[in-house]
Every structure is written in structure tokens, then in C-alpha cells.
């Protein structure tokens, strides 16, 4: 599937990757442009595998990847991709004895920022961007989970990368921090390419002009959040009672039942679908296959 695009920053053709008998990615074709792309999918859908391949950390079994026209299979081009990359892995390990500033300084060196003054400038900039200025001297082992996640985001921003790959960046963030994270991504200068994976459909709806739904290692949808929501048009109802024939039903905060199905439940009213409705319907259809 291909997004309607201005400039193809990333191209993925026939990408496959197996782990033993498990097929993590199954001939994925994708084209991503400048701006923010949200990767939506359940656990085990292949999101982390796809992102780690784009980040040049893993290699595919088959298929091709092109990042800014560079081929990661070539050593020199792989290094050039890494020079333009900011990467937040899903499970980022930390040297726990490091302070926050010390860790960022270490990552800045790995990003070839070897000049001491420039490193300090960069570390100060990303600390301010992620609201961690007052924690510069704090040891990482003393940080809360949410603060560590912000530290992970901060290290990805070092060096003002052209490509940001963020694997579940909002995991562990409270609602206010998530809001601030959305503002941060939306306000990044230079129009970088941002690919982020998440379970949170509302993150996608809020900041991603493009969304890709990955299910069982395959791309099941690529388009805008509005188009994803529209896939469930005419199939989402709200009622006072549960409908046993609906594909999916759950009770909302207003104590009413939301149904996704093919037939209108008795006494139910049709509502405008959300991005989450569209995603859930796709997941259900993929699971039923």
C-alpha cells in the first residue's frame, strides 16, 4: 500500500522478517513522506521489527529499504542514515549510574558531537524540550518511569535528526506529558520525517497526518486518520444494552454500550466513527480471517 505523498522519504519494498517459525513482517510495501506517520497495531503485529529495520538496527530476511534515497545494506550509506537518525527503541536500556546529563552527553558523543561546548548546548536544548532541565544532575536509577521515557525521547532529539523513529514514545507518560509530547513533535523545526508506533489511537488522531495499520506483519491500511475512521462509517452504534451480535462491544464512561457491527442493534443510534473504531474494525476483520 502506498500513501498519497509529496516526497518519498522512506520506501519499503517486499520487506519480510522471520523469528524462527514466527513471521514478524510479511512482504510489507510502504512509502512514507515528510511529517509524522503513526504506526498502529497490537502487540506482535511487527511494529517494533519494522522500526528497528528502518533504524538500521536489524536486517530484513528479504526486501529492500530506502531512507532518503540511501540503502542501509551499504556500510557507508548505513552510517549516513545513522547520522540523520534519532531513535527511541521500545525498551531502551540505561546505564543506571549515569546522571541524566551524563547519559545525554554519552549519546551525543555516539552521534558524533565530539566538541564539548556543542554537546553541552545540545544536551541543554533537549533537556529543555522534554522538561527535564531540573533533573540534569539526577541519577537515572532515581527517575520515575515517565521521566525515563522523556529521557529516551530527549536522546532521540539530539543532533536535530531528519528522521525520528520512536517506538511507543507515549508509553508510561501521564496525560499531561502526552499532551506536551504531542506539542513537542508538532513544533519540531525543519519538517523532519517522524515515524512513531503506538497503541493509542487518540495520539494518532491528534498529531499524525498519516497512519499505517500493521496487523500480523502486513499493512492493512495506509492513509489519513480521517480515512481510517471512515472505514467504520455506518457500522458504529451506541445503545443502552449490549448487542450479542455485534463484532465488538464495550461500555463507555457514560455507561452506554458502543457497538461495532454490520447490523443495527435494537434501539441503537448511529454515531460518527473515530480512529479507534476504524482500527478496531480492521483488527477484528484481520483476526476473523
Amino acid at each position: 500500500m502506498t500513501l498519497n505523498m509529496r516526497t518519498a522519504a522512506i520506501r519499503v519494498d517486499g520487506l519480510s522478517r522471520r523469528y524462527g517459525a514466527t513471521r514478524a513482517l510479511d512482504e510489507v510495501d510502504l512509502t512514507l513522506e515528510q511529517g509524522i506517520t503513526g504506526l498502529l497495531g497490537p502487540n506482535g503485529a511487527g511494529k517494533t521489527t519494522l522500526l528497528s529495520i528502518l533504524a538500521t538496527v536489524s536486517e530484513p530476511d528479504a526486501g529492500r529499504v530506502s531512507v532518503f534515497g540511501l540503502d542501509p545494506r551499504e556500510a557507508a550509506e548505513r552510517v549516513e542514515i545513522r547520522r540523520r537518525l534519532g531513535y527511541l527503541p521500545q525498551e531502551l536500556g540505561y546505564h543506571r549510574h549515569f546522571t541524566v546529563a551524563g547519559f545525554l552527553d554519552y549519546v551525543a558523543i555516539l552521534k558524533e558531537i565530539t566538541d564539548r561546548r556543542r554537546r553541552a548546548d545540545e544536551v541543554a536544548r533537549v533537556l529543555a524540550a522534554t522538561g527535564l532541565e531540573r533533573r540534569a544532575r539526577t541519577r537515572i536509577r532515581a527517575l520515575s518511569g515517565g521521566m525515563r521515557q522523556r529521557l529516551g525521547i530527549a536522546q532521540a532529539l539530539l543532533g536535530r535528526p531528519d528522521l525520528l523513529i520512536l517506538d511507543e514514545p507515549t508509553a508510561g507518560l501521564d496525560p499531561e506529558q502526552r499532551l506536551r509530547f504531542r506539542e513537542l513533535l508538532s513544533g519540531l523545526p525543519g519538517d523532519p520525517v517522524i515515524v512513531l508506533s503506538t497503541h493509542q489511537a487518540d495520539d494518532i488522531a491528534a498529531i499524525c497526518p498519516q497512519v499505517v495499520v500493521l496487523l500480523q506483519g502486513r499493512v492493512h491500511f495506509a492513509g489519513t486518520p480521517a480515512e481510517l475512521a471512515a472505514t467504520a462509517a455506518g457500522r458504529v452504534w451506541v445503545a443502552d444494552a449490549r448487542d450479542p451480535h455485534a463484532h465488538l462491544s464495550w461500555r463507555g464512561g457514560d455507561n452506554r454500550w458502543r457497538h461495532i457491527g454490520d447490523a443495527q442493534p435494537a434501539g441503537a443510534e448511529l454515531v460518527t466513527p473515530t480512529v479507534e473504531d476504524g482500527y478496531l474494525l480492521l483488527s477484528h476483520a484481520a483476526g476473523a480471517r
Partner: protein
């Protein structure tokens, strides 16, 4: 440009001056030279009066940014006395910072190395001095109890090897994925960490060898096998998985060491013939490592 600061306290402001208006203005505008910039930054950390004077002149956003940078600089570790000494010897600051993140330089790792060495050295000393009864024949020209050295001879180079392997194995480095995705030369990082891990492990091994009731040349004789094993491992990482490389090199030492121990001649593993073999392995491995350094992939 400056005026006396009679009431200033502390190591910086104690120099006894205040920054003049011109100096503060040029600093605020970002036009001061490097020496003046550093001087003002060092001074305003301890002088509230000059901070106030500066804030009146400076763009608040720029001032906040400068203060953040200053706080970061003071928050960054300088490596202590050892770090300053190594920097004076010409080692770049950024290499020192990378070395500081070497997993096998952590206190817990070094303590476990010392612990293992203490056990094998203690066992050898206990047998040698009759606190524990040894079994089997005891013979080797010149040395009354060669068998007591067998555990140490087996373990010592393996500990050095383990320290070096821990410096680059993905399972030991918590942030290895960041190192993989970074453009910094994996080979340079490997060498920096290896040198630091070698230094960290060889010191306790040599110290333990001095304490052992064996030949006086033993500490020196262990140097070559240790270096050969480590270089062999690094060279092997350019053609195979790092964990497999470390295990293979470890087995290449452990097997002959165990066989010689079983035949009651453990010291043969560090005798001249073995030293020549280790020197050959070291040379060949170093050549392979240099020739294939572009094939090394971090992680």
C-alpha cells in the same frame, strides 16, 4: 571592564571583581571571545549581583538558554583526578566519556573479578601451605606444587577475556541499541572499551599472580595468553556473532589448560612453547582485526 567585588565569597567570585557593563553586554549579545565567555560564566555562578546586572541586559530567552547550558556543563562528570590526568596525556575528552560507559569497568564487575581471583588464589595458598590436603602426584621441575596453580591458570586469562567480552556484548551493555543505531565508529568504540576493560582486569590478575606460591615470572607469563585470547575474540567478531567469538576463544584456552592440569603439568600452558603459540595467535589476530575492521558491526 571589571570592578572589585570585596564581599564576594567562594572560589570563583573570590577572585574579587564584578563584570563590567561592557563585558556583560558583549556576553549577552554573544559577541564576547571564548576566554571572556568562560570567565563570565564561571563568575555569574557565584555572583548574584552580576547575574542581576546581566539579566537586565540580556534577552530573557537567551539568558535562560545560557543558564541551562551552564547547568549542564557543571552537571557533566569530568572523570575526577584520573580523567584529568588521562586528558593531560592527550586522550580526547569524548573518548574518555565513552570509556566511562564500559560495562566491565563497573564496580560490581570488578568486585566479582577480584572475588573469583581471591577464591582460586586462596585455594592455591591453602594447598601449598598444607591447610588443605592435596591429592595426586606433585611434581614439576623447580616447583614443588604445580597442581595448586591449575585453577588459577585456567581462570585468570578467562577473566580477562570475560571483561573484554562484557565491554561489547549486547547482553551486558544496557544501551547497546543506541550504540548500534549511532554513526560513531563501532571499531573505535570497541578499541576504547577493550583497552579500558583490559586494564581493569589485568591489574587484579597480575596482583593475584604475585601473591601465589608459584614462579615469580607467572604474572608476566599470563600477559601474553590474556592479550592473545582477547585479540582473537575481537578478530573473530568480524566474521561471527560476538558471543560465539568469546566462547570459542575461551574454549581454545580452557581445553588445553584442563588437559595439562589433568596430566599434572599445568604450568606447561605458560611455558616458552605456549608463549610462542600465544604470540603467533596475537599477531595473526591483530592483522585480521585491522584488515577486517570495517566488517565489525556493533551489536
Amino acid at each position: 571592564m571589571t570592578s572589585p567585588c570585596p564581599d564576594a565569597a567562594g572560589p570563583v567570585a573570590g577572585a574579587g571583581w564584578h563584570a563590567g557593563a561592557d563585558l556583560l553586554a558583549s556576553y549577552a549579545a554573544g559577541t564576547s571571545d571564548e576566554v571572556a565567555t568562560w570567565s563570565v560564566e564561571a563568575h555569574i555562578t557565584a555572583c548574584g549581583q552580576c547575574r542581576s546586572a546581566l539579566s537586565a541586559q540580556a534577552d530573557p530567552q537567551r539568558l535562560a538558554r545560557n543558564r541551562s547550558v551552564l547547568l549542564v556543563r557543571t552537571a557533566l562528570p569530568d572523570g575526577g583526578r584520573t580523567g584529568r590526568l588521562v586528558r593531560r596525556c592527550g586522550v580526547p575528552d569524548h573518548l574518555l566519556r565513552l570509556v566511562a560507559a564500559t560495562p566491565s569497568l563497573r564496580r560490581s564487575w570488578l568486585l566479582s573479578v577480584i572475588g573469583v581471583l581471591a577464591v582460586v588464589t586462596g585455594e592455591a595458598a591453602a594447598v601449598r601451605y598444607g591447610w588443605i590436603r592435596a591429592s595426586g602426584p606433585r611434581r614439576l621441575a623447580g616447583y614443588p606444587d604445580p597442581e595448586v596453580l591449575a585453577p588459577f591458570l585456567l581462570v585468570a586469562p578467562l577473566l580477562v577475556l570475560a571483561g573484554v567480552a562484557a565491554a561489547f556484548l549486547p547482553t551486558v551493555d544496557p544501551a547497546h541499541r543506541l550504540a548500534v543505531a549511532a554513526p560513531f565508529s563501532g571499531f573505535t568504540l570497541l578499541l576504547a572499551r577493550t583497552v579500558s576493560a583490559l586494564a581493569g582486569a589485568l591489574v587484579p590478575v597480575a596482583a593475584a599472580a604475585f601473591l601465589l606460591p608459584g614462579p615469580g615470572w607467572l604474572p608476566v607469563a599470563l600477559l601474553l595468553p590474556s592479550l592473545a585470547l582477547c585479540t582473537l575474540t575481537l578478530a573473530a567478531t568480524t566474521v561471527m556473532d560476538p558471543r560465539g567469538a568469546a566462547l570459542t576463544a575461551g574454549a581454545l584456552w580452557a581445553l588445553p589448560a584442563l588437559l595439562l592440569a589433568a596430566s599434572h603439568a599445568p604450568l606447561q600452558i605458560v611455558q616458552p612453547d605456549a608463549q610462542f603459540a600465544c604470540a603467533a595467535v596475537l599477531c595473526v589476530s591483530a592483522v585480521v582485526l585491522l584488515a577486517r575492521r570495517d566488517h565489525f558491526e556493533w551489536g
